[in-house]
Symmetry: C2
Subunit: 221 residues, 2 copies
Amino acid sequence: MAMRKKRTNDPEGMRRRVLDVAEDSFQAHGYHASSLGDLMAAAGVTGGALHHHFPTKKALALAVIEERVAAAVRETWIEPVLAASSAREGVRAVFEAVAAELEQQGYVRGCPLNNLAHELSLADDEFRSALARIFGNWRQAIADKIRADQPGGGEGGTDPERFAALVVATYSGAMSIAKTSQDAGILRECLRGLESFELSPSQGGSTVKRRRRVLPRPKIA
Amino acid sequence: MAMRKKRTNDPEGMRRRVLDVAEDSFQAHGYHASSLGDLMAAAGVTGGALHHHFPTKKALALAVIEERVAAAVRETWIEPVLAASSAREGVRAVFEAVAAELEQQGYVRGCPLNNLAHELSLADDEFRSALARIFGNWRQAIADKIRADQPGGGEGGTDPERFAALVVATYSGAMSIAKTSQDAGILRECLRGLESFELSPSQGGSTVKRRRRVLPRPKIA
DNA sequence: GACAAAACAGGACAACCGGTCTGTTTTATA
DNA sequence: TATAAAACAGACCGGTTGTCCTGTTTTGTC
């Protein structure tokens, strides 16, 4: 008399839905402020199903980090930079693309990698090493691109690792400031700072023609 | 018959002790992962006393931000930079001092401002504005120092705000990476990146003499 | 010393969290 | 179709959290 019960097992889809809402909630509220109850409600998933795919909250977060956060860095940074005509051009394009996207959506939720890195690095060593590996891959991709530019282009004097470290640090820090001030303009400011410390001759009033070192060597060791 | 009860009211000292342990715990474990019970035990303070000085956990965190975090930025960044012979020298000195301190203590807990900024900026607007103000003061101090260098020194072509934004972003991001990798070396790497993109002529094998722009202008608008 | 306010003590509580447990349904395999 | 494993449902529980509340003690003030 009652309607037949229906259920379609879709383990992959359910797992994906859980990861979707977890990724979003971790980004918006952080790990500790995201309760499994909220995630279950948002994903339309029962406790049994959640526990079946992710035995603990930590396992869920680890999956988010290794699958989603790593993919986000790959898609928004590594692939565009590697596909660009040069490392420097790739870096510029990513900075501006991200700034444009943030300004369009009107708010700044920050870098997913950075957000979780701050909250979880000291809490658990598995979290920390997973996040550190993503940072490492990110830096290495940029350094590799610089190296690829060196034979033909004019990157002979650029230290690849140093350049990559500076770019990743500047971007991460700029996103932190942007998130706190809810203003993506700092990204463009930092990009211009990377492009050139001194104003270009056509803009600046300085009479100095020759480029100087960005920071002087210390006078005393 | 029993010993007389003794108690010495010391509101300022008690408030200071609570702020001490809260500052430390927020830095080590973050806001959400720091329970008031733990703080009370660590500070040797009862619930009544804690509630008397800080009615809510949020009020406590706000006090930590406005009194302790702001002071930390002032003491480790603003005052040393303003006291230095130049902005660039001050920046260099702070980077190296922090790197040396982190290497000496063997672990990296990250920048207090950055840590709380990531966890609390999106959670509450009072938190966010308080943190944003500290970032703003930090940047402004560096920019002011650059401006102070300009009349006499050779900072004619340097945009103060741009320089300050780049320095603060690079430092914040470098600390994020250092915290995640538990290695302060990235701070020195980033400092050298700030000092000079291209290797100095005496070090580099490049034959290029004239300094080039750090990042080329985009070919198409 | 009277007295009010501040400072402090410590228990109580309701809400919530993450994890576990038992039971049912679907699906793969033979 | 028999059967075991996977997939899912949903209730349950111990522990924790932040806050509140009622007293007690100290301290400043007239």
